[in-house]
């Protein structure tokens, strides 16, 4: 039985009176890739941010098995645009107190193919900014990777690079949760699919069994 690396129990979130996420349970186990689907405003980004610890839930708990490291790539790039990719990564590596920040930065840059990039983030293309956004999430070699619409701005080659990375993490016993609007991506890559609508889980199961009309 694979160990659960990250577990959410009855997590919910409201902004003022507006409920954006109804209480929901979710487990991410070793070697598992889970796709998170649903229309815009369904609560996907909120759920991922809560799982990442970037947003406090209004109710429920998130627990990670020790010593699980969680990486997060938000939908909107979260980085300093006046710093170069290396400077961004160095800063976040030092803030995260990684043992060997230089090595961690080198690995993350290599993983997304930005090792040679010396321009500031503000001067990069949208796709390259997204790659840097992913690289920051990869710092510290996470066991669980939470990706919020990771392929939205990537070209075909970079998408393939991303899925290779996801496959590698799965093979190494890690877990990946990614939000997507593409059912094809989910069917190709994920072991499980969770679909949200209006903040509620409306489907949870194998991606191949999901039919949009079923929700």
């Amino acid at each position: 039985m694979p160990e659960v690396l990250l577990s959410a129990r009855q997590v919910a979130r409201r902004f003022g009176r507006r409920v954006v996420l109804e209480p929901i349970d979710l487990d991410l186990a070793e070697g598992e890739v889970v796709a998170l689907g649903g229309p815009n405003g369904a609560g996907k980004s909120t759920l991922i941010a809560i799982l990442a610890g970037a947003l406090a839930p209004s109710g429920g708990d998130v627990a990670a098995a020790e010593p699980t490291r969680v990486g997060w790539m938000p939908q909107q790039p979260a980085l300093y645009r006046r710093l170069t990719p290396r400077e961004n990564l160095e800063l976040f590596a030092c803030l995260a107190d990684l043992g060997d920040p230089d090595a961690a930065v080198g690995r993350a840059l290599e993983a997304v193919g930005l090792a040679e990039e010396e321009r500031r983030a503000a001067e990069l293309s949208v796709g390259n900014v997204q790659r840097l956004n992913l690289a920051i999430g990869l710092l510290g070699e996470p066991d669980v990777l939470l990706l919020d619409e990771p392929t939205a701005s990537l070209d075909v080659a970079q998408r393939q690079r991303l899925w290779r990375l996801v496959d590698g993490l799965r093979a190494a016993g890690g877990a990946v949760l990614f939000a997507t609007h593409s059912l094809d991506e989910a069917r190709r890559t994920a072991d499980r699919l969770l679909v949200l609508q209006d903040g509620r889980a409306v489907y949870a199961g194998p991606p191949g069994d999901y039919r949009e009309e079923s929700t």
Binding site: G53, V70, P74, A78, Y80, R82, L83
Partner: protein, 448 residues
């Protein structure tokens, strides 16, 4: 602490990559400091006062002894206020609309009474209620006092001339009537001649009269000193000292420094925390990389560093001008360490205020506008003269500007600045902590 330092290094590096902003941060306060320096130096020095003299009662010369007075001209050339001649109706309208802060009404018999010397003529000063009214009353009192003093001096001189005539004799006039006076000295000379008379009763009476005249001479001789002493029990003599009192009087330096630091730190502070939100990194930092408290502290320190550096540059520029520009302005180099302490405290308090505004506003554009809109009137409140409007003082006390200005001015030129710096420094620390705490609470909303 390590995380605060890491973020601080990032912010300083980022600022270095925004040359336009860095330039504006230096240039804008300098321009503002110069303008406000001028305003502080000259504003309110000559308030506009309506002069209502519908009968032309001020016209005509007043002759006192050898001197002639043109009271009308004296008032028109007054340095205390700017007297603007107008009708009574116009004066009342301008007083209501605030174009003039007071109206000076001249009675029709002004010069007549002044010439008659039996009754003092009365000028009526009409003011509005409030601080400016009080200020113009002080200015007008000063003007009337100085005019009285000049007239008094002329009357004393005329009286002394009469005393001199009494002592030494000679010709004079009363009104237009000429007269000749023997004088005490010459009277005594004639009495001494009579003392040598061969008629003993005549000689004895002459000696008796001479003794009296001698006593009279002594007493009249003292009149001049008594007149001057009773007219001016305390005299004030003005002596010019040092160089020109140009823009950079120490007080103006204090205002300019406080203003420059306030503008830079409040605006930069308002944008600093918001910038993290707009870079979308608050969520990342919240994942155990840097707490909101650490982030608020880092922003306050960052803004305070920039503000202090700017203040120091300004102080050095002022120092160079004072040193080489023949300008009086305190002891710029000796007081630099003390000034540095004042600048740090001021920058921290202003920075915390700015960060709080940013945390409340949550958006860069809103934060900048709100910071400007809130800070400007609060800074101007500190320019309201002490003791004039109590409410302004209370509100001003809750904003760091007045305290910063007082601390910086004391650091620059007070003979014993420690007391003021400690008192105002305590205010600045207290306000900094209060605003910082409020910023920390408000920052929680930024994560949502």
């Amino acid at each position: 602490m390590r995380r605060v330092v890491l973020l601080l290094r990032k912010d300083i590096r980022t600022l270095g990559r925004m040359p336009a902003l860095a330039l504006a941060l230096v240039a804008y306060p300098l321009v503002i400091a110069l303008v406000v320096g001028l305003v502080v130096r000259y504003a309110g020095e000559r308030p506009h006062v309506a002069l209502v003299d519908e009968q032309g009662a001020l016209s005509g010369l007043l002759v006192v002894g050898e001197r002639r007075f043109d009271v009308e001209r004296r008032l028109e050339e007054a340095t205390e206020v700017d007297l603007v001649r107008m009708s009574r109706t116009q004066a009342e309208r301008d007083l209501e609309t605030g174009r003039v802060v007071a109206a000076l009404v001249v009675p029709p018999d002004f010069i007549t009474k002044l010439r008659g010397l039996r009754e003092s003529p009365t000028l009526v000063l009409r003011t509005t209620r409030g601080g400016l009214g009080t200020r113009v009353v002080e200015k007008m009192r000063s003007l009337v006092y100085s005019t009285n003093l000049e007239l008094q001096q002329a009357y004393i001189d005329a009286n002394l001339a009469a005393v001199d005539l009494l002592l030494h004799g000679g010709s004079g006039t009363i009104g237009r009537t000429p007269f000749t006076l023997l004088g005490i000295q010459r009277a005594r000379a004639q009495l001494r001649a009579l003392e040598r008379s061969r008629d003993p009763p005549v000689a004895a009476r002459a000696r008796e009269l001479d003794t009296f005249m001698s006593q009279l001479q002594g007493a009249v001789g003292q009149v001049g000193s008594f007149l001057r002493a009773t007219a001016n029990p305390i005299e004030l003599r003005q002596e010019e000292h040092g160089g020109r009192t140009w823009l950079l009087s120490a007080q103006v330096q204090g205002y300019a420094l406080a203003l420059a630091v306030a503008f830079v730190t409040v605006l930069l502070g308002a944008g600093a925390l918001v910038a993290e939100r707009e870079e979308n990194v608050l969520g990342r930092l919240a994942r155990g990389l840097a707490g909101l408290g650490q982030l608020v502290v880092e922003k306050v320190v960052y803004v305070a560093l920039v503000g202090t550096a700017l203040g120091l540059v300004l102080a050095v520029v002022f120092g160079i001008i004072v040193e080489f520009g023949d300008v009086s302005g305190g002891e710029p180099w000796l007081r630099l360490p003390l000034l540095l302490a004042g600048l740090v405290l001021a920058a921290v308090a202003f920075g915390a205020f700015g960060v709080m505004i940013g945390a409340l506003a949550r958006e860069a554009a809103t934060a900048s506008v709100v910071a400007f809109l809130v800070a400007l009137p609060l800074m101007l409140l500190a320019l309201v003269p002490a003791g004039s409007i109590a409410a302004a003082e209370w509100i001003g006390a809750l904003f760091p500007f007045g305290h910063a200005q007082a601390a910086l001015s004391a650091a620059l030129y007070d003979e014993q600045p420690a007391g003021t710096i400690v008192r105002e420094g305590a205010w600045l620390v207290g306000l900094g902590l209060a605003y910082g705490s409020a910023a920390r609470v408000a920052a929680r909303r930024m994560l949502g």
